[in-house]
Symmetry: C2
Subunit: 153 residues, 2 copies
C-alpha cells in the first residue's frame, strides 16, 4: 500500500462529500441530492484558514480516504496547541486494509510537526468499532463530547 | 449582574492563567510557577487566528470568567461551521451566581452570529457538575471525547 497524503483541492469536493455520505451516520447528515453549494462555501472557508488541513489519502491516483485536521492554539494545559481530527472516512471498498491506521499515523505526525502537544477527537457513542480503533492507537476516552444544534434564521 | 464580554487583551493573561489554575483539574495542568512565557506565545497565536475568540467576562471592571471559542469550518453535516468551546472557568468567588450561564448564552449567541449550526465541547468524565450544567443548556452527550498526549522534542 503506497498512500499519498495531500491537501484536498476543489476538484476533490464531490469525492469527499461522497465519502462523508457513505457511512451509517453520514447518510442521514449529508445532502443526498449532492447539491454542492453549501459544501463549496465550506471548502472555501477551510482553504482560507491556515489552521485547517483538509486531507485526502490517495492510492494509485484514487482518493481512498479523508480527514480534517484543525490546529487550535489555546492557553490551557500550559499553552498547549491542540490538533483536532474530524470527518474521518475511508472508502467503502478500502476498509480493513490499514488505510485508517496509516491516515492516523500521518495525522498524528502532522500534529506533532505543527507543535501540538495534544490530539483530540470526538466520536459518536454509537460507533464501537471506532472506539476500539482509537483505544488501540493509544487515545484515552477521558471526556464526554457534547453537541448543541443551532438553527440558523 | 451586569456582565461585559470582550476579547482578552495581553494584560489579562496572568488573570486568565490564574482562573485556569483555580480548578481541581487545572491545578495539575497549569504551570504553578506562573512563568507566562508559554502562555504568552499561545496568546499571540490565538490573537493571530481570526477564528479564535478568547473571551473574558467582566463585572465592574473585574474579570470574573473566561472561555475560548473556536470557529471551525468543515464539510461534514452539510458544510456545517462548528463553534467549539474550551477552557471555561468562573472565578472561585463568583460561582453559583449565574456567571457560567450568562457566559454560555453569550457564547452560543456568538456562534450563531458567526454562522455556526453546531456548538461542541468536551468535558472531563470526572466533572459531574459540568455535565448537569450542559444537559440543562440543551447540549446532548452524544459523543466520546478522546485525547492523545504528544511529547514534543
Amino acid at each position: 500500500m503506497a498512500l499519498i497524503f495531500r491537501k484536498a483541492r476543489a476538484g476533490d469536493l464531490a469525492t469527499i462529500v461522497g465519502l462523508l455520505a457513505d457511512d451509517d451516520l453520514g447518510r442521514q447528515r449529508e445532502d443526498a441530492s449532492r447539491d454542492l453549494t453549501a459544501y463549496q462555501r465550506a471548502f472555501e472557508q477551510i482553504e482560507a484558514d491556515r489552521n485547517q488541513f483538509l486531507c485526502v489519502a490517495e492510492e494509485d491516483g484514487q482518493v481512498v480516504g479523508t480527514l480534517q485536521l484543525s490546529f487550535i492554539p489555546g492557553l490551557s494545559r500550559g499553552g498547549a496547541k491542540r490538533g483536532m481530527i474530524e470527518a474521518v472516512r475511508v472508502a467503502g471498498d478500502q476498509r480493513s486494509k490499514g488505510v485508517g491506521r496509516a491516515m492516523f499515523d500521518w495525522a498524528i505526525a502532522t500534529c506533532r510537526a505543527e507543535g501540538c502537544t495534544l490530539v483530540q477527537l470526538t466520536t459518536d457513542k454509537t460507533r464501537p468499532d471506532a472506539h476500539r480503533f482509537y483505544d488501540a492507537l493509544g487515545f484515552e476516552a477521558s471526556h464526554v463530547g457534547y453537541k448543541l444544534h443551532l438553527v440558523q434564521g
